[in-house]
Each structure stands twice: as structure tokens, then as C-alpha cells.
């Protein structure tokens, strides 16, 4: 495996992203040290490459990517994985508002908790939150799967049109056009496949406790 280490400490955003795009062509894995919560890291990256970010990323990490597998050993700011079409974004820590916003495909995983409007306007793909998610989770959702292992606060699925939200913890309130329906054995089987693939260890009882939120038909 060909690896390349980028020290982002004294780079501005454009220089960092230019370096990532240049090196992604000829390497299998890029390691980014000292990201210092810079914004837009990996924006628009379309190479089939592994990216490891050692530290926290700022806003719009992994925005508009198609293909890379990005792993953040830290936290992320607002709109992590925004508009992703294919690939994987794993955040070991927490994320700010709008994690997985507008994704068309791929998977966004936040191991910790997220802020508000997680998975808003997502059209496809999968967003998994290991902790809690804030206000208006799944706002204007149009497709895909949004899985929350912790609690969600007010107005879950506000104005949801399509797609499914699965919550293991407590749901404080549903938004307009959202309804809670039975989580079928097929749903549970599918959740188990996805969550097991990404290393989440849940009991069989846990899977029976998921709540499924969809749009009113």
C-alpha cells in the first residue's frame, strides 16, 4: 500500500485540498496530520483512496466527494459529508449541525453525538449516529436511511418526504408530516447488517427496540 503523509499545520485550505487531490492520484492512503479544524477538507475529492485525518476537521469535511473513504480521529464541524454521492466518512468523535446533509449515496458515520438537523435534505445513502442527535433531525428528508442509536430531540422528520429514520433511544417529538410506524423484522435485519458492518455491537433486543419514522402516506 502506498501511503503519503500531509502535515496540514501551515497550509491554508486551498493548499491542503490541492495537495490531497494531487497525492490521491498516486497513493492508496493519505494521512493528514494537524488538520486544526480547517474547513472543507477533501472537498470534491473523487479518487478511490483512504484518507485518515488525525485530529478534528472543521465545516464541510468530505463535501461533494465521490468515492474516498475518510476516517477522522477527532470531531467535525457543521455539514460533515454534505452532498456526498459515494464513499464513506467516519467520524470518531462528535459532529456539529447538518451531518450527512443532502447526501445522495455513500455512508456517513458519527460515533459520538451530533448537533441539529442531522441528515437534512438527504436523498439517499446512509447516515449513522452513535450518540444523540439534535433539533429537526431528518429535516426535509427525501430518501436514504438515517439511524440514530441515542436520543433525538424535537421535531424529528420535520417535513420528511421519503426515506426512513430509525431511532433506538427516546424521541422527544415528531415534526410535521412524520409518523412513527412499526419497525419490521426485515428492517431489523437490514439494520443489523449495516450496523455490524461498521462495528456497532447491539443486542438482539436492541434491534427490536428501534422506532421507525417515515412520512405520512
Amino acid at each position: 500500500m502506498k501511503e503519503y503523509v500531509i502535515d496540514a499545520k501551515n497550509m491554508d485550505e486551498k493548499e491542503l485540498n490541492r495537495t490531497i487531490k494531487e497525492q490521491a492520484i498516486s497513493h492508496d492512503k493519505l494521512i493528514i496530520d494537524n488538520p486544526e479544524s480547517k474547513h472543507n477538507i477533501c472537498a470534491g475529492l473523487t479518487e478511490d483512496v483512504d484518507i485518515e485525518i488525525n485530529g478534528s476537521a472543521g465545516y464541510f469535511v468530505g463535501t461533494m466527494v465521490n468515492g474516498p473513504r475518510i476516517h477522522i480521529n477527532g470531531n467535525a464541524g457543521w455539514f460533515a459529508g454534505d452532498n456526498m454521492t459515494e464513499g464513506e466518512l467516519v467520524i470518531e468523535g462528535t459532529a456539529g449541525d447538518g451531518a450527512g446533509q443532502g447526501i445522495y449515496g455513500g455512508t456517513v458515520i458519527v460515533k459520538g453525538s451530533t448537533g441539529s438537523r442531522t441528515g437534512e435534505i438527504m436523498k439517499g445513502g446512509t447516515v449513522i449516529i452513535g450518540g444523540n442527535s439534535g433539533f429537526m433531525t431528518g429535516l426535509l428528508m427525501m430518501g436514504g436511511k438515517l439511524i440514530i442509536l441515542g436520543d433525538v430531540t424535537d421535531d424529528v422528520g420535520e417535513s420528511i418526504m421519503r426515506g426512513s429514520i430509525f431511532v433506538l433511544g427516546n424521541v422527544k417529538s415528531l415534526g410535521k408530516n412524520a409518523v412513527m410506524e412499526e419497525c419490521t423484522p426485515e428492517d431489523q435485519k437490514e439494520l443489523k447488517e449495516i450496523l455490524t458492518e461498521y462495528g456497532f455491537e447491539l443486542t438482539d433486543t436492541d434491534y427490536t427496540n428501534f422506532k421507525k419514522i417515515v412520512n405520512i402516506q
Binding site: S37, S56, G58, N75, G93, G96, S116, G134, T153
Partner: protein
């Protein structure tokens, strides 16, 4: 955009707050290029009734002499410093003595009537430093790195309303109670609904800037006996629009975020320190911790020493 930052040390001792806030604001520079400012508490150590005045003085013949002449009619000038700044004016800093706090706001208004003079602020327990330009330049100009304090708040401004000048740089201060300051990221959309009742109570507004409105609102609430946390909770109910507001008082700092959470705010707290900022990168400048908390929509957080 705008960037906000605040830090308070729990041991009540003085720390290099100027250096900490400068590092935080430099990390938030991209959120606001127009101006920057600080309110550093616990830095002056003045005896009762001594005040620091920061005055903008245009480089016009006689302007500074007229100012000093008026000052000396009321108080001896104990310490003074003229700091060269940008544009057509400099900043004059001095220490004066008044009989009581209630004389400070009226004296500031009297000074403001002088030609080519504008008071930036007057304070007893904190030092206000604000100017147009970049954080790094302002920090050097005013030697902010050397300022010790117990806590402070700071701001980088991306002007979305009002002029870009020294006065409209944050923090804003109210004189309804001593030494309260506010920095703010956002807009208040029910401005007149907040301002009207305050004016009817007799509070004076100097500008049409919404941050000035917030600082008078907060000062009025604290003056009514609200605790800082209670005043922040009430602000979330009363104020409309997208905002993260950060308040500084002589013994604490606190943040309130609008009901829809449309402006950012993150924080981190340890046994030693409580810090708030618009973005995580600024928190890493003062605390080596990944335990970052997202401040939720409508949430308030405060710490007092």
C-alpha cells in the same frame, strides 16, 4: 458570519487572558475580517470609583487638548497613553476618578459632544480593546498579549449592518449596570420590539446596531435582579432571529443560542477552564481536549466565579 470567543479560569486567579483570546480570535479570523475586539476582565485592578476611558481622537489640531481640558475639569488624569491607530484617528487611554458610577455615563455623553472626539468606552473592572482590521494587527497595536485577567470575551466582525469603524466593533457595552459587555454573531429581527420598551424605561441608545440593543437588554435584565443564566434564558424567549450571543460580566461569561440554532457555538469545560467559541479550532487554542460540546438550539450556558 462573525466569530465569538470567551474564556474563564475557574480558580479566580489572573491568567494570560489576552494571549488566550488572541489565539482564539486568530483561529476565527476567517469568520470576520472587518474589526475585532476584546473585553478582558480582572485586568485593571482599580480602586473604587476609578475608571479607564478609551477615547477615539481624530488627528485634528486641538482635539486632544480639548479632551484633556474637559477631563481635568472633572478628574485628575492618573495614567494616559496615546495609541497610534488606523484611519484618521488614534486611541487615547486614561484613568480617571469620579465620585460614583452614576456619573460615568453622563460624563461620557459630555465628552462625546466635543468635536473630533468619541468615547469608545469607560470601565472599572475590565479593559476594552477594539479596533478595525485584523486580530494580529490589533493585538500588536494594543499589546493585548501582555494582558492578564480572570476571564474575557472577544469577537471578529463580518459587518452585515452598521458601519465598519472602531465604535461598531464588538464588544458593545451598556452603562445600565457597570461593566457588562456583549459580543454577537447573528441578527436580531425583532429589534424595535426589544428597543422600544428599553427606551421607554429611559435607557439611551447610541446607534441602530442590534448588538447594542442586546447589551442594553441583558443589562436591564441583570439590573432587575435576574442571574446571568436567567437573563440568557429570557433572551432566548424574547429575541428573534439567528444569533449566538456571548455576555461578559465582572464575574462571569455566558452564551445564548437562538431557538432554531442558526448560528454556531461550541464549548469545552474542564476543572480549570470554561471556554466558548464559534468553532472548535478556537477551543483547541486554550484547552487540549476533544470533549467538545455542541450548544443546542435555544440552549444557554454560563459560568461565574
Amino acid at each position: 458570519m462573525c466569530g465569538i470567543a470567551g474564556v474563564i479560569y475557574k480558580d479566580k486567579k489572573t491568567h494570560p487572558v489576552g494571549e488566550a483570546l488572541t489565539a482564539m480570535l486568530e483561529s476565527l479570523q476567517h469568520r470576520g475580517p472587518d474589526s475585532a475586539g476584546y473585553a478582558i476582565y480582572g485586568s485593571l485592578n482599580f480602586p473604587d470609583n476609578y475608571y479607564q476611558l478609551n477615547v477615539e481622537v481624530k488627528r485634528k489640531r486641538g482635539a486632544l487638548d480639548n479632551l484633556k481640558s474637559l477631563l481635568t475639569q472633572v478628574s485628575p488624569i492618573f495614567e494616559e497613553q496615546l495609541i497610534e491607530s488606523v484611519g484618521d484617528s488614534d486611541v487615547y487611554k486614561c484613568k480617571i476618578l469620579l465620585d460614583e458610577y452614576s456619573l460615568l455615563p453622563s460624563f461620557i455623553r459630555e465628552i462625546d459632544e466635543l468635536e473630533n472626539i468619541r468615547v469608545i468606552n469607560g470601565s472599572h473592572s475590565f479593559e476594552m480593546i477594539k479596533d478595525t482590521g485584523k486580530v494580529k494587527d490589533i493585538a500588536e497595536r494594543f499589546n493585548v498579549q501582555s494582558r492578564m485577567g480572570t476571564h474575557g470575551i472577544g469577537h471578529t466582525r463580518f459587518a452585515t449592518e452598521s458601519g465598519v469603524d472602531r465604535y461598531h466593533a464588538h464588544p458593545y457595552q451598556s452603562y445600565i449596570i457597570p461593566d457588562i459587555t456583549v459580543v454577537h454573531n447573528g441578527q436580531i429581527t425583532n429589534y424595535w420590539k426589544i428597543r422600544d420598551p428599553l427606551e421607554r424605561k429611559g435607557h439611551t441608545f447610541e446607534s441602530f446596531n442590534d448588538t447594542e440593543c442586546i447589551v442594553h437588554y441583558m443589562a436591564d435584565k441583570l439590573n432587575q435582579g435576574y442571574k446571568l443564566e436567567e437573563a440568557l434564558d429570557q433572551a432566548v424567549i424574547d429575541l428573534d432571529g439567528p444569533f449566538s450571543i456571548l455576555v461578559g460580566t465582572p464575574n462571569g461569561i455566558g452564551i445564548a443560542k437562538d431557538k432554531l440554532g442558526l448560528r454556531p457555538g461550541v464549548m469545552v469545560e474542564t476543572d480549570e477552564i470554561f471556554a466558548i467559541a464559534s468553532e472548535e479550532m478556537a477551543l483547541h487554542d486554550v484547552i487540549d481536549s476533544n470533549q467538545i460540546e455542541q450548544i443546542a438550539p435555544g440552549e444557554t450556558r454560563a459560568y461565574t466565579i
